[in-house]
Symmetry: C2
Subunit: 210 residues, 2 copies
């Protein structure tokens, strides 16, 4: 019985996600699902990306609690709304449907910053056209081996906090080999949201899709 | 119907956890549930703790996939077993019951390294007597505000990677204020698993409980 209910929840979520994804595409809006652990720099990377983009950008900010990131984005003039899940570990498509209605995005890019969690959000489609996975050199090079699903589903992988490379033990070859074991094609792009380095390739990637 | 099933799952998990916790206490084994995000340094901190402890130590290593950490612990002569959840985002008490049987711990300390996830593991008791939460200065000072449950449930909070403090923006007062908004009593202990600094206070804390 439990399995039936889960299948129904997944199925319903997928149906709403597919419809939302189509609706956004019709409006010429690229929808980007941004995944990553807590504190990996999702919002900081989004700020660096959005300020370099020539397209109108929107952000749906997902958090368990608090709205620091939405306030930060809004202060920079970025059109952002907050979803607090009050305990839930991932966003789902019914939540995004409501947030999209509130945000009323026009032609451009809609970023959805998912809940800080490297496991559950990878299981739920939320209307996205692509998935951006953000990881950090401070978290070690074994993450693709330990959390394979997020790496399998990613269309592009951003390796953040590269300004800290001189001070941490990060084995890029081992990391890269782990990524390729899960995902043959996603580009891996090294950046530092602190120094602003490395974001040009992400901009090129996104602008090709718009 | 869905809610009923969840309540039953929580209830059953809690019953097994309570029985396990009592059984371990009878055997004079302190059971420690170790929570933290992916890559926060849970295994590295455990190694620093175990090598300083005067008590016999055991580790149950939880991961979504891979057994790097168990192999690392075993190479150091630490009695460790691996649980891979193959996708699941937290450990539960039936899994721990099986692992405890395999490990057959005697008087001492049993550490259970939970899945790298700052959300779901805080909801499931697994037979522990205390919860150790590990966070890192690289993840920013806003975590207690964004992920309150783990901070509410923690008996002791370890702030890791303090060797990187000169290179990151971490506001300890803001962090500490966020912790105290959720938890009035848990000590916050600053450490670096890389340099080995700060672990004495954790040892004192644990040895008092044994």
């Amino acid at each position: 019985m439990e399995v039936d209910i889960w299948q129904k929840i997944y199925q319903k979520n997928k149906e709403i996600a597919t419809a939302l994804s189509e609706k956004l595409r019709e409006k010429e809006i690229l929808c980007v699902n941004v995944l990553g652990s807590p504190g990996i720099g999702k919002t900081s990377c989004l700020i660096e990306i959005i300020k370099r983009l020539d397209f109108k950008s929107y952000v749906i900010e997902g958090d368990v609690e608090a709205d620091f990131d939405t306030v930060k984005l809004q202060k920079l003039g970025i059109n952002a709304v907050q979803i607090d899940t009050h305990g839930a570990c991932h966003l789902d498509s019914p939540l995004i449907e409501i947030a999209v209605e509130e945000l009323s995005p026009e032609k451009g890019i809609l970023f959805i910053e998912n809940i800080g969690n490297l496991i559950c959000p990878a299981e739920f489609k939320i209307g996205e056209h692509i998935i951006v996975l953000i990881v950090s050199v401070t978290d070690g090079s074994d993450k693709p081996y330990k959390y394979p699903l997020a790496f399998q589903k990613a269309d592009i992988i951003i390796l953040n906090k590269c300004d800290l490379l001189p001070y941490v033990d990060f084995d890029f070859d081992f990391f890269s080999q782990g990524v390729r074991g899960n995902n043959k094609t996603a580009p891996i792009i090294k950046v530092s949201a602190k120094t602003g380095e490395g974001f040009e390739d992400i901009i090129k990637y996104l602008e090709k899709l718009c």
